[in-house]
């Protein structure tokens, strides 16, 4: 019996050491060489897929790491996968090495101890990250604690066809416009992340004091705080595209609707997406973007490594490569991806900064100044409850 207990005590630290210590970067690099990293990331956007392929080429030449993009329709599929593996006792050699993640998925995985780390702040390129100005150390108010590494900033913008309408300054103005122009506006169906973000944006913009959203929702305050949201949606829904009887699946699924002239106004979480879509013939050239007077919600996209990843070292190489000024500038290029950078310009040297200064953000992309105030994401508990309630009220009940 005694020897069994001893064996168990020995086995525990051994299992933990199967993956290399992130702080020992040379060891990470050595172990990563020749690994194939399976990055589970949403695969619905061609531009993102192309960018990931480019990152794959970069880590292949620089570190000998092969990157395979596992295209997901929903990030939660990857979470489920890791859970299945834990259920089956697959505590090493898991199928997923890296996940594009944030928000509720991150909160769920962190709480269930499904993540490897902390590793993010040990990455060499972490030194460039803008930890003061950007929300990279909390994720929807949940502390990141180094269990995921940021790679892109997103902020809500509204995409509109300037040939058909003018920019609008508030959610109330959008409601008034939609009522006057029925069938010309829609948003993706929650629980799609952009759809739920739109709901949060409504809430943030219609509340007098949105700071209550930084605390978890309680049974006591939930109904009262969200009342303005449901009131808004009850008025908005009849004037939506298809009278709210159907919704687009995702944000990019609204591009063809604008291109065909089915709608004039939609939302995006990527300030540069409209410019990129114009370049790809997916949107008409008259499309522009705007933000609300009080600002719009923004958050960071992260990558996380499952606790049982077979190639955690290779995954860290990829996470680090995503933070390189070269990759960040490429991601910000509207011709490529149009995502906001997570780096602080004043932490870069002249050559590195020149990569960003050289970018032409494009006709439909707002400058960092024009993007204005970034409002914080509410605590995930709000989103979960709102998404469930939305589903009962508008998703199934017609």
């Amino acid at each position: 019996m005694k020897s069994l207990a001893l064996l168990a005590a020995l086995a525990l630290p051994l299992a933990a050491q199967a993956q290399t210590d992130p702080a020992d970067w040379d060891a990470v690099t050595a172990a990563a060489k020749g690994q194939t990293v399976y990055w589970n990331a949403w695969g619905g956007s061609t531009t993102t897929n192309d960018f990931i392929a480019w990152v794959g080429d970069k880590v292949k030449t620089e570190y000998g790491v092969t990157l395979e993009h596992v295209k997901l329709t929903d990030t939660a599929d990857a979470v489920t996968r890791v859970l299945s593996e834990k259920q089956a006792g697959t505590d090493t050699g898991g199928a997923i090495d890296l996940i594009w993640i944030n928000g509720a998925n991150f909160a769920a995985m962190k709480e269930a101890d499904l993540l490897f780390g902390p590793f993010a702040e040990q990455l060499p390129n972490w030194r460039y990250v803008d930890t003061e100005g950007k929300t990279v150390q909390t994720d929807f108010t949940v502390p990141v604690d180094g269990y995921e590494s940021p790679w892109a900033m997103a902020q809500v913008v509204f995409i509109y066809d300037s040939a058909k309408m003018e920019p609008l300054g508030s959610m109330q103005a959008i409601l008034d416009w939609s009522t006057a122009h029925p069938g010309r506006f829609t948003y993706p169906q929650p629980p799609d992340f952009l759809g739920t973000t739109f709901l949060k944006q409504v809430l943030v913009d219609t509340l007098d004091d949105p700071s209550v959203l930084q605390q978890p929702a309680t049974d006591e305050n939930y109904a009262q705080v969200t009342a303005s949201l449901w009131d808004y949606l009850d008025k908005l829904t009849p004037s939506l595209w298809r009278e709210g009887r159907a919704y687009p699946a995702t944000g990019t699924a609204m591009f063809p609707l604008i291109a065909d002239g089915e709608i004039d106004l939609s939302t995006s979480f990527s300030p540069g997406a409209a410019t990129a879509a114009i370049a790809n013939n997916e949107l008409p050239e008259t499309v522009r973007t705007f933000v609300l007077d009080k600002g719009t919600i923004g958050n960071a996209s992260f990558v996380a490594i499952p606790y049982n990843a077979a190639h955690a070292e290779g995954a860290m190489i990829v996470a680090n490569a995503l933070l390189s000024p070269e990759a960040q500038a490429r991601a910000q290029d509207p011709e490529i991806l149009g995502y906001g950078t997570v780096l602080a310009m004043d932490k870069l040297d002249t050559d590195q900064r020149a990569l960003f200064d050289a970018l032409d953000l494009g006709v439909a992309t707002l400058s960092p100044e024009e993007l204005g105030t970034v409002q914080a994401e509410p605590h995930p508990s709000w989103m979960t409850r709102i998404a469930d309630d939305w589903n009962s009220r508008y998703g199934v009940a017609q």
Binding site: A76, D77, N105, Y247, N391
Partner: protein
């Protein structure tokens, strides 16, 4: 060696076909009753079923599963029966048959994309008519695709199931003495359609009963077509199951498992109701026959049947055409009938991804189909040598994997495979594909194999050939054409598999079908078009080869050219 192996092949085939289904159902039952140790959940309890009943979308979701399944089956069956009744033996019928047959192998997802691009308010039809005939400069705000009643989804399924039922019916007609029955009915003054329905239909239906059940079960539980054409507020139950499977909240998996069992119960219930309706229809039909009515509205019924058949064939063909246009399109605004410019940009952009997915698709389909072919020939040869023919019950077993809804057993199978330590990826995906490929290969090859003139074998044996020699040197070469057809059927079934690839492959196995459906949520029509077309090509090419190769191989063997 071979003779010792041969007798066990039928058992092996049954295990390959039914093992995963049984195991998957078992793996679904545990979490349905609250048992999911990895999430710290231990059953048994009924919490998941309580949560399922409390889900506000349940009644509509269940209703949709029933209406889309039953609607598809009734409409597709009625149209095919009326088409065969009114037109078989005519030139128009042969033309339509030739138009519909290749559509059987067009993957469901590709046909659904094509239909959506065709009939949406901004689709090709609206573009062709606008603004000249309609006055539209913007597409009308009509809910056509993803309508809450699932009518478009039923339409998409009907156009794909019609070719299947038609081919099954044509195969059955040969055993029903239909031509003489029609002549006698005509001599007695019955109209063409009425006479056929009264004399031939009962016999044909008895033969195609199982394929009809397959259509019913499939229509009730399909996922990819429902994702593309079906409603979302709420979706049919099968789609909701897949959604719950993927939610970050782990208890949603229990909900998915309980819903999977509900889905199974629904399909079983619907099959029972259908069986009872058969009895009822037979009663009513007998009364109708006894009235002796010769049929007065045969003309209009014939016209409707032919129109519907033509519309079905054209909607798939035009759908593929509009996919082709989108894949080469530059900017294409509404209401332009054609894009501003054509370019290879989309093909170049997706070339790498498409080829990688094609290679994966071809590898899986090739190996699975070969395995299915070997097992099938082994079974049929064992049956021939040991004189053990397949009973009616055996035929049911063959259809069982096609009748159990995929959403009911694949989630459980995924969990079990992990428990056995089998790594996710290509191997398990192939095993899962085999479950669906085997029945089709078997059904496709069985009749020609059994119909082979055994006297040829006797002659070969008299000349000194061993049983194996007869098989390899006489029987299989003579059956080249049906074997290649069976291979083509197997390949196209494998190419079209969505849910087994997605769930069992753990997302790591990217075939043309999973890539195309994954793109559907993003709405990039050019990318969807490229992948949809490649998917169609991968399924169609083997059929073209199955026609071409025997013609070349037997160019100087006249008697075998049409065998």
């Amino acid at each position: 060696m071979k003779n010792r192996l041969l007798p066990v092949v039928p058992a092996l085939t049954l295990v390959a076909m039914l093992g995963p289904v049984v195991a998957g159902l078992y793996g679904t039952i545990l979490p349905a009753f609250g048992h999911l140790p990895a999430a710290g959940l231990r059953g048994p309890n009924l919490d998941a079923f309580r949560a399922l009943l409390a889900w506000p979308g349940l009644s509509r979701s269940v209703t949709l599963s029933l209406t889309t399944g039953l609607g598809t089956t009734v409409v597709a069956l009625a149209l095919v029966m009326l088409l065969v009744a009114g037109w078989s033996g005519t030139r128009a019928f042969r033309l339509l048959e030739r138009l519909l047959s290749p559509l059987l192998s067009v993957p469901h997802a590709a046909a659904a994309f094509g239909l959506a691009f065709l009939i949406a308010p901004s689709g090709w039809i609206a573009r062709a008519l606008s603004p000249a005939l309609t006055g539209w400069t913007n597409p009308p705000d009509w809910l056509i695709v993803q309508d809450p009643l699932g009518l478009t989804m039923i339409g998409g399924l009907v156009v794909k199931e019609m070719p299947f039922l038609l081919l099954m019916t044509l195969a059955a007609l040969g055993q029903t003495d239909a031509a003489r029955a029609r002549q006698i009915a005509a001599a007695l003054g019955y109209g063409r359609t009425t006479g056929w329905l009264k004399t031939v239909f009962p016999r044909v239906y008895a033969q195609i009963r199982l394929p009809v059940y397959v259509v019913l079960a499939y229509g009730m539980s399909v996922v990819d077509v429902a994702l593309i054409l079906g409603p979302n507020t709420p979706p049919p139950l099968s789609v909701q199951i897949v959604r719950w499977m993927g939610e970050p909240d782990f208890t949603a998996r229990l909900l998915a498992a309980s819903a999977a069992l509900l889905q199974l119960a629904l399909v079983v219930g619907a099959l029972l109701v259908w069986r009872l309706s058969e009895v009822l229809v037979a009663r009513v039909g007998r009364l109708w026959i006894e009235t002796g009515h010769r049929g007065t509205c045969d003309g209009p019924v014939r016209a409707v049947a032919l129109t519907a058949g033509t519309v079905a064939a054209l909607s798939v063909l035009l759908g593929l055409a509009v996919l082709a246009v989108w894949s080469f399109a530059g900017y294409w605004g509404f209401p332009d009938a054609l894009p501003d410019a054509f370019s290879l940009k989309s093909w170049i952009r997706h070339g790498h991804g498409v080829l990688a997915a094609l290679a994966e698709t071809a590898l899986i389909a090739g190996i699975v189909t070969m395995a299915a072919l070997v097992l099938t020939i082994g079974c049929l040869e064992a049956e021939y040598r040991h004189r053990r023919t397949l009973t009616q019950r055996g035929l049911w077993l063959l259809y069982l994997p096609l009748l159990v809804p995929q959403t009911a057993f694949l989630p459980g199978l995924q969990g079990l495979l992990l428990n056995f330590g089998a790594d996710v990826g290509r191997g398990p995906v192939m095993l899962a594909h085999l479950v669906f490929v085997l029945p089709y290969v078997f059904l496709s090859l069985a009749d020609p194999f059994r119909a082979w003139d055994a006297r040829t074998g006797t002659v070969a044996a008299a000349l000194g050939a061993s049983p194996d020699g007869v098989l390899w040197r006489v029987r299989l070469p003579m059956l080249l054409r049906p074997i290649l057809t069976a291979v083509a059927v197997g390949l196209s079934v494998s190419v079209g598999q969505y849910l087994p690839t997605l769930l069992i492959g753990g997302g790591r196995v990217a075939t043309l079908t999973t890539e195309a459906v994954a793109l559907s949520s993003g709405g990039d029509r050019r990318a969807i078009a490229v992948f949809g077309l490649m998917q169609t090509g991968a399924a169609l090419l083997p059929f073209a080869l199955a026609l071409l190769v025997p013609a070349l191989a037997w160019r100087n063997r006249k008697g075998l050219q049409h065998g």
